[in-house]
């Protein structure tokens, strides 16, 4: 059985177990169900949909995964820009973010042009977007507007594009196994989110930063990251790494993922919203689900690029 099929069977087993456990819990607890349990059921159902979407993308190979993440970027950027201050004069720059920058960035990943996709947004868009805004002549809250645009494009396009960009890495002895590396990153980072949630719900007492996020606890963080690192070590067969290396990289990705979630919570707190959107039932918006991946992907990418290629 190929590695991808093994991973798929493993995921199905986890999902079926999760659905069974949630079903038994719901069946045995008093009605009406507590909001936590209702939310758990909805979350698990959404996971089925997300895993289905990802499986379809992986079936189509590299192109499928690139298109999937271009759509993820689109949805994430839309949620982000909705919460920022925009003015009528920003119309063309905003359109350019959605219609030019997103497709172009993923096209550059597709043609494997590392020299450009790694600087296209942080150099060219960084300079072009404020220049266009200035040419338009509307200086009201100028700094705020251009900074928010920059941050949005970095967060939802540049960072997320490093997930599919993993296939472009030429790791000796890992030819044709780039998709497995992506699967490894997603499985450990998303697994870490789920494990942090479970450990937090079961043992969570001491809040890490009550001002930013009431649901993040030290117990959840430590339990989640330790178990997700073990998960990463156990999934080493997806990667060119030894079990110890895989565990260490998973730990790094999960810590980055935690920080991503924390930053995303701070932005939501600042804007007075609970969720980024309502796209994924029970989870919130696309950015609620991918905030950890946003921070993990570029660091994971560059560590591997530095140490293994």
């Amino acid at each position: 059985m190929s590695e991808m099929s093994r991973l798929f069977v493993g995921l199905m087993a986890v999902l079926v177990t999760a659905s069974l456990v949630a079903g038994i819990l719901s069946w045995r607890s008093p009605k009406p169900l507590s909001s936590t349990l209702v939310n758990l059921n909805v979350r698990i159902r959404a996971w089925w949909v997300m895993i289905a979407a990802m499986s379809i993308a992986f079936l189509f190979g590299e192109g499928g995964v690139i298109i999937l993440f271009a759509l993820v970027s689109f949805a994430a950027l839309r949620e982000y820009v909705t919460l920022t201050h925009t003015r009528r004069s920003d119309h063309w720059v905003l359109l350019g973010m959605f219609l030019v920058i997103v497709p172009l960035q993923y096209y550059l990943v597709w043609i494997d042009w590392y020299g450009l996709y790694s600087i296209f947004i942080p150099v060219y868009c960084f300079l072009a977007m404020p220049a266009l805004t200035a040419l338009w002549g509307d200086t009201s809250r100028f700094l705020e507007r251009i900074s928010e645009q920059q941050w949005g494009i970095m967060l939802s396009v540049y960072c997320i594009s490093h997930v599919p960009a993993l296939v472009t890495l030429d790791i000796p002895g890992n030819n044709g196994r780039g998709l497995l590396l992506i699967a490894f990153l997603i499985a450990t980072v998303q697994g870490s989110d789920v494990l942090q949630y479970i450990f937090g719900k079961l043992f969570g007492k001491h809040r890490i930063s009550p001002n930013v996020s009431p649901s993040k606890t030290w117990e959840g963080l430590i339990g989640g990251i330790l178990s997700a690192s073990l998960l990463g070590a156990g999934l080493f067969w997806l990667t060119p790494f030894s079990p110890v290396e895989a565990g260490a990289l998973a730990a790094l990705a999960c810590i980055m993922g935690f920080l991503g979630g924390l930053v995303a919570s701070a932005i939501k707190r600042d804007r007075g919203v609970k969720d980024w959107g309502h796209m994924i039932e029970g989870h919130g918006g696309m950015l609620d689900r991918t905030d950890s991946l946003v921070f993990a992907a570029p660091v994971f990418f560059h560590i591997i690029r530095y140490a293994w290629t």
């Binding site: 839309r78 949620e79 909705t82 920022t84 009528r88 919203v273």
Partner: protein
Amino acid sequence: MLTFDHKALSQSLFGAFLAGLSRAITGVIPIWVGSAPSERQRIYFANHASHGDFILLSSCLRPEDRARTRAVAGADYWRKGRLRRFLSGYLLRTVLVERNWVERSQDPMAVMLDALERGESLIFFPEGTRNMTEEPILRFRSGLYNLAAARPDVELVPCWIENMSRVLPKGAFLPVPLLCRVIFGAPIALTPGEDRKDFLHRAQNALLGLRSQTNGEQE
């Protein structure tokens, strides 16, 4: 005689297409806080800042309700040019009212009451024009009061449209994808003896009250 009603078919197909398109671009969800989807005859009155407003609002209605709901729009705009005439008359079935006092040939009230008489629901923008100011809402014109007085049996549902003016601002042709919501409030009705000004003020506040229930929107 049994004839193939190509007009009704193209209208419902076009309506479904627009609803799908506006959902794909804005991810719009209806939020029913004071009322629920219903087959009752209604006037949905909403804030107006973008040409996309009535498309967004009707995409929040159930297909069967959407089929019986027509938007009230300015004839001066929608009768200009063949494409607009085709869109408003054939595909969108807008109720066109002449806003210009001096030159008008049809009484706007008569046109709207006519549609209500046929059992149709209306989407109505009581500000009378698109709001291009920084204010959240413009002063309501008398139209809403006249409709409420003439047809007390029709429910007046306030609908706050959020973000559409950022998606498709004035003069823009391509929409920027941003998340939108439409918040449907509790119906209001004219109380006996209430005068025009008081009623319009109350209606305006009912609409603005929905705005504070929104989150995420700046300003």
